[in-house]
Amino acid sequence: MKDAKHQEPAGKAGKWTIPGYGLLQGLFVSGRNMVESYYKKERCPVIQYPEEKADISPNFRNFPFLCYDGDRPETGLRCTACGICEKECPPQCIYIVMDRDENGKAKKRPKVFDIDISVCMNCGICAEVCPFDSIYMDGQYEMATDDRFEKLVLGLDRLAKSTDYHMQLRPKEATAVMEKRKAAEEKKKAAAAARAAKAKAAAEKKAKEAKEQAEKNADDAKGGTE
């Protein structure tokens, strides 16, 4: 190994000098820390929590929530109950039941969507794997409750939050998602329009062909009679 051995470090550490000198140095350091903590923020960065609160970082994550478009969670929920997050969730705290109509056909929306936040470990994998931009991590952290059972299982009513909330919580991420969704929608619209135009053209062509055929048939018939 080429690395040279280190010499003594920057301080005067490790040497016996005047007996008690090291102790005095230590006392000096702690005295300076004590005095400076009264007027220097970096010496005492404590926040008196319930009275004042620290700003939440835009990346901070706590428990998940479900995003819905528009005003009502009943109609605008993005979740399609595909169950990917349920499968990927490391502590298995998500529970989804697909909503079905009378014939048992899937409605592509959740009937039950429960997240057990007493089990949830705030990892954010559900938000990461969701292909429908539906589930995101919340910044809400004051979730203490006196009921260990019912109140710690969040149902759809407590999970569904509007896009405005998302926008307020994480403006950057929410804007990006909005743009992506808009682009996708426009693309879809464009594709639909293109499809419609194509269908129209095809129909016209068909009609034209049919007309021509009819004319031809008519001609043939004419010829036949002659």
Binding site: Q92, C93, Y95, D114, V153
Partner: protein
């Protein structure tokens, strides 16, 4: 890497012929091939590796449970063109009844002063019951002491010659070996506020109707 393995293989074949040493190629991109040796002679093999090849650092010892031997062959393929090896493996395969499988212990060794490693050595027990015995390497590498105890605890491999073979992570009265693939977790769930019907059902079975009386 393969150069080291061949060198080690040659000297083991010369010094410890009872070890039946063969090379297993790793089909994955990591390319960490391994040496397969007989369970009784692991300690002798380690002695040769330590004394003659200077691999002085045993980094990792771990167990793998193979209830299905066919899967083990899929994961560690026998070296191609090594006729002896193939013959040995076939003989092994005939000896082991297909239904009982085996436990495997894998060692990762390094050379601290020269940048060599990892040298992977593996050994398979005869079966998963009474015959799950492997020679302990604590006399050669002290670092195996706790790790072998852990394998004994979690897999049930008995290391012959280990100075102090007791359970290490589970408590002493515990009977089963939880890392085995066929281990069944106990169903004595405490009632948890979980939305999972399966857990609630299990809890209900174990603690029938707590509110009934």
């Amino acid at each position: 890497m393969s150069g080291i393995i061949d060198m080690v293989l040659a000297s083991i074949r010369a010094k410890v012929p009872a070890a039946n040493a063969t090379v297993r190629t790793n089909p994955g991109p990591s390319g960490q091939d391994s040496l397969m040796v007989a369970p009784e002679s692991v300690a002798d093999v380690m002695r040769v590796i330590h004394d003659e090849h200077g691999f002085d650092f045993l980094s990792n010892v771990t167990g793998v449970d193979w209830p299905d031997p066919a899967l083990a062959e899929k994961v560690a393929v026998i070296a191609e063109g090594d006729a002896d090896a193939e013959g040995d493996a076939k003989a092994d395969g005939e000896e082991t009844p297909a239904e009982c499988g085996f436990l495997e212990v894998v060692y990762h060794l390094y050379h601290t002063s020269e940048r060599k490693g990892p040298l992977v050595v593996r050994s398979r027990t005869k079966d998963r019951g009474e015959g799950a015995k492997i020679a302990s390497v604590v006399s050669v590498y002290k670092s195996a002491e706790f790790q072998e105890r852990e394998i004994y605890d979690l897999y049930g491999v008995i290391f012959t010659g280990h100075p102090d073979l007791r359970r290490i992570l589970m408590w002493d009265e515990f009977v089963d070996h939880p890392m085995r693939k066929d281990y069944v977790a106990p169903d004595d769930y405490e009632y948890e506020p979980t939305p999972h019907a399966a857990v609630i059902e299990k809890a209900a079975q174990h603690y029938p109707a707590p509110d009934a009386d």
